[in-house]
């Protein structure tokens, strides 16, 4: 029951992400636009390119969706509203999202086209950049909560949200999630002006619809994870817990979507260089600082 309800919420969330995305990119707020776009996609032909690797081509969009759904399973919207409160929840999110890379590589390789291929390679490079910056900030969050339970992580922020307790970790995690969700300015893998859509370029019709749905669910899942790890989850005054979760998740989503609109796409070499030479030392520093704080503060 909870699962069905949460899946429904996730669908609504994904829809709202689509509305916000259209709004941030075109400046027009139209509630019905994604519904028309989705119907139009379903009505269009969906072909498998000649000489494609059919298994990879067909699997990739579904795998992207499943990977995002799996990660969403351990995210609590209220103390009770969670699909499964795994004892290893915080790590499970990371484990589930690893398949995003696999899905995008398959989508890059599958259609046997140059643009998609380069897009896939680029995401492989991107993984090397963002992966550590997802795990290491989570480590610091877990240190404070002294638990991998996502519900426990929210409870641990009752006095002070992690965004204040470990702002460095928040910034790193936020940027790394944007890179993981290949949102601009980290959209190297889809890069409209460089690769004509990259891994998305050859998909059409229903398959493209699944791919885009997977991406939307991925975005909202990462926004929800940011809320759970850093923004105190469902906690907040006056309003009921679910409302706080919804407001915070949508606000984080909007910030993620809006940020890329005002800057050019990052260069791949810069992304790799900065993540390794700046991001990882900062993430280590964050773990050290949180460790000291955990020991010093009561």
């Amino acid at each position: 029951m909870t699962t069905a309800f949460l899946l429904l919420l996730l669908a609504v969330g994904a829809y709202l992400v689509a509305v916000i995305e259209a709004w941030t990119s075109s400046g027009r707020f139209r509630l019905a636009a994604p519904a028309f776009a989705a119907l139009a996609l379903l009505g269009r032909e969906s072909i498998v390119p000649r000489k494609s690797d059919r298994v990879f081509f067909e699997t990739a969009p579904v795998l992207l969706l499943i990977s995002a759904l799996l990660a969403a399973a351990v995210i609590p919207l209220t103390p009770d509203l969670i699909i499964t409160d795994l004892a290893t929840g915080a790590l499970f999110i990371n484990a589930a999202l690893v398949y995003v890379l696999v899905a995008l590589l398959m989508a890059g390789w599958g259609p046997n086209g140059a643009y998609a291929m380069v897009g896939g390679w680029r995401f492989l490079g991107q993984l090397i950049a963002y992966a550590m910056l997802i795990v290491m900030p989570i480590t610091a969050v877990v240190m404070r909560a002294e638990s991998l339970l996502t519900t426990q992580i929210v409870v641990s922020q009752a006095g002070l949200w992690n965004i204040v307790y470990q702002p460095l970790g928040f910034i790193l995690f936020f940027v790394a999630s944007m890179a993981l969700a290949f949102l601009p300015p980290f959209d190297l893998t889809t890069a409209k002006g460089e690769l004509a859509g990259g891994v998305e370029a050859e998909y059409s019709g229903a398959r493209l619809a699944v791919f885009r749905l997977g991406r939307l669910v991925l975005i909202i899942t990462l926004a929800a994870a940011t809320v759970v790890f850093y923004l105190g989850g469902w906690q907040g005054p006056w309003l009921p817990p679910w409302a706080w979760s919804a407001i915070k998740i949508l606000a984080v989503t909007a910030t993620m979507l809006l940020a890329g609109r005002y800057m050019p796409r990052i260069r791949e070499t810069d992304l790799l260089g900065w993540c390794w030479m700046l991001g990882i030392p900062l993430a280590l520093l964050n773990i050290l600082l949180v460790g000291v704080l955990v020991l010093v503060l009561p």
Binding site: G43, D53, G113, A114, K192, G193, E200, P264, R267
Partner: protein, 670 residues
């Protein structure tokens, strides 16, 4: 009704979907968004959504008259679009080989708006039809040719072995009647069918099976031969077809070919003996470990003893040389990567990879429309490039005598990105040849018009830059400003000044912009450079410096040091600011019609600083008729720089470098 409807009976559900499609029309723009805007068309206002890949587009919009090469490329795009698809022609004239347009309208904003309305109706009513015929065009026909995976220069019509390395040639598709190998494949704006790895689907396509004696083999493991397509049991690669009889032709004993060795192995598979990789003198007929060092013995064939011992006697280095790789220690199954890749072209990092030719253009989002850029990609590094315009370029050398009015019309219609500059160039050359003087007021108004065009052209370039670099705000904002400036008078232009300044200010503090552009496409100061490209390299080369009409209005050339994409961006921004100052000083924006030059004869030469740099025109008049003319344009030289600018750059940087040149394919002189 639309010609490219999707086959199917219009059921209730389909009608609902068709209604949704009508409200969500995506479009692929030909020749390009910046050119369509220069015609004064505002696509965004109509609600059509431009997309980057033809696979995602439902409407193909063709604006203005296009060359036959561009129409061929457009036919490929149309074929790549998913049904239901519609063709929308705006003042396009001849369309073949494209199908007849579903909606035809004039080249105006009103025509655009009406056309989109008609398109929506057409989609709502006729997105699904039971009787739909396929689209076909000569450009879509392919034939199969065979090439070596290691030696791309080896190309032949029949399957066989590579004369250089003996590997089996792999099939690939090329356009049936093409003289160029690579342009043939340009599925512009979308992915190509260049086989990165030969796939099984290929073999049952277009009759590769014409020969009964086709068998399938692995490019890496020639000993794997079977009669059915499939994957190699050893490495999983897809098997490639080959002719059975070809094998006999290279049965000579050339030990450079490991393939050859493998045949020996096949022939004499029975006799296997075991030896130590470290101690070749240890040989026994049973597997086991070496009595000297304890290593596991490895199997090898008895026949190889000769070769082996010979190698041993020579020297250790010879022993490990390519000739014997895969032979010596009995590791027959594994073909050395050194051997496989030794003839591959090398990248700068020394890592050999398969190179692929990928077309970028002629309608690639983020590159100037009409420019076909083919990049040879080595991973995502550019190993080579080829750039050519696919536009119809005005040929002035073979020109019948023309009267001045049609000469001006021809020149002004040459480049949709700079019609005013070329019209003015024609005016000035004619006036110069006829010995006419221009009143100061007219000269100032002309400068106003020129500078306004410079602003719109630079804004179009900025929008393209924004599109390419994924900077959406810039792409949209510059595009709407381009449209606002296009027909602005002096007052309107001055009213837009604060908006323009805010844009420039914002760009100065945009994160990532500097790291995205600094050091990219660096050009050293060279007098052959023109326009903003030259001035970004510190070359103070501006035809306006020599015009008194300009200098009296307060013109000073803008220049920057650096010569990279960042400097070019800044020069473009500075020039926009400076052009606004000049417009204000000129006080008028007008391009008066040419005075009657009369029945004069004479020669004239003049130059104009177009938005892309100095263009020079020489012409000869004979009794009022232009009998000879010679034109020199900035993009002609700039397009030749692409090769050196993209060489060994990563794909993103290479595209940025090409984009920063602000080329206009229309003005390239061949």
């Amino acid at each position: 009704m639309i010609i490219g409807a999707r086959p199917g009976k219009p059921s209730k559900l389909r009608r609902l979907i068709a209604a949704a499609m009508a409200r969500d029309l995506t479009t692929f723009i030909i020749p390009g968004p910046e050119i369509v805007r220069s015609y004064g068309l505002d696509i965004d206002a109509t609600g059509l959504k431009p997309v980057a890949s033809p696979r995602h587009a439902s409407v193909l919009l063709v604006a203005g008259v296009t060359s036959s090469a561009l129409r061929d490329a457009a036919a490929v795009i149309y074929a790549q679009m998913m049904r239901p698809r519609a063709l929308f022609a705006l003042g396009a004239g001849e369309l073949s080989p494209l199908p007849p347009a579903d909606v035809i309208a004039g080249l105006s904003q009103q025509g655009l708006i009406q056309g989109v309305r008609q398109l929506r109706d057409a989609f709502a009513e006729g997105a699904f039809r039971p009787d739909v015929s396929d689209f076909d065009a000569p450009i879509l026909h392919v034939r199969i040719e065979y090439t070596c995976p290691m030696h791309p220069e080896v190309v032949q019509n029949a399957p066989g072995a590579c004369p250089k390395c003996g590997m089996n040639l792999v099939p690939r598709e090329v356009q049936a009647d093409s003289e160029y190998l690579h342009t043939a494949q340009h599925k512009a704006g979308s992915s190509t069918d260049i086989p990165l790895t030969p796939r099984p689907g290929q073999s049952d396509h277009h009759g590769i099976n014409h020969d009964a004696a086709v068998e399938y083999t692995c490019p890496m493991h020639p000993e794997v031969i079977q009669s059915e397509p499939g994957s190699c049991p050893k490495c999983g690669m897809y098997l490639v077809p080959r002719d059975a009889q070809v094998e006999s032709s290279h049965d000579h004993h050339d030990h450079a070919h490991s393939q050859e060795h493998e045949h020996h192995k096949m022939d004499h598979d029975a006799a296997i003996e075991y030896t130590c990789p470290m101690h070749p003198e240890v040989i026994q007929s049973e597997p086991g470990s070496c009595p000297k060092c304890g290593m596991n013995l490895e199997p090898r064939k008895t026949q190889d003893i000769q070769t082996h011992e010979h190698a041993d006697m020579d020297s250790a280095t010879d022993h490990g040389s390519m000739d014997h790789s895969g032979m010596d220690h009995g590791d027959m199954v594994f073909m050395s990567m050194v051997d496989v890749t030794k003839d591959l072209p090398r990248s700068s990092d020394g890592l050999p990879m398969e190179w692929i030719d990928a077309p970028f253009g002629p309608f690639f989002p983020g590159l100037p429309g009409g420019l076909l850029l083919t990049l040879t990609l080595d991973g995502d590094t550019v190993a080579g490039s080829d750039a050519r315009p696919l536009t119809d370029n005005l040929d002035l050398s073979q020109h019948p005598p023309t009267d001045s009015t049609s000469f001006v019309r021809q020149l002004a219609g040459m480049d949709p990105l700079a019609p005013v500059a070329y019209r003015l160039l024609a005016y000035r050359a004619l006036e110069n040849a006829a010995g006419l003087d221009v009143p100061a007021g007219t000269a100032a108004a002309r400068i106003g018009a020129m500078e306004r065009e410079r602003i719109t052209s630079h804004l179009g370039w900025l929008s393209l830059f924004g599109q390419q670099s994924g900077f959406n705000w810039l792409m949209q904002h510059a595009a709407s400003l381009q449209l606002a400036f296009l027909h602005a008078d002096v007052t309107q232009a001055m009213a837009l000044k604060p908006v323009m300044q805010a844009l420039i200010k914002r760009l100065q503090r945009t994160p990532l912009l500097k790291s995205r552009t600094a050091g990219i496409g660096r050009l050293t100061a060279d007098t052959a450079l023109r326009g903003p490209v030259a001035r970004a390299s510190g070359v103070n080369n501006d035809a306006r410096s020599t015009e008194t009409a300009c200098t009296t209005l307060g013109f000073t050339p803008v220049s920057r040091e650096g010569g990279d994409a960042l400097a070019r961006l800044h020069v473009h921004l500075d020039e926009i600011s400076h052009s606004l100052v000049l417009i204000e000083a000129a006080g008028a924006i007008e391009l008066p019609v040419l005075a009657d030059i009369g029945d004069v004869s004479g020669a004239g030469e003049t130059m104009v600083e177009t938005p892309r740099g100095m263009a020079r025109l020489q012409l000869t008049l004979e009794r009022g008729q232009v009998i000879a003319a010679q034109l020199e344009t900035p993009s002609t030289h700039h397009i030749t720089l692409i090769d050196s600018l993209t060489e060994q750059q990563s794909l993103g940087d290479a595209l940025m470098a090409v984009g920063s040149l602000d080329l206009s394919p229309w003005e390239v002189r061949q």
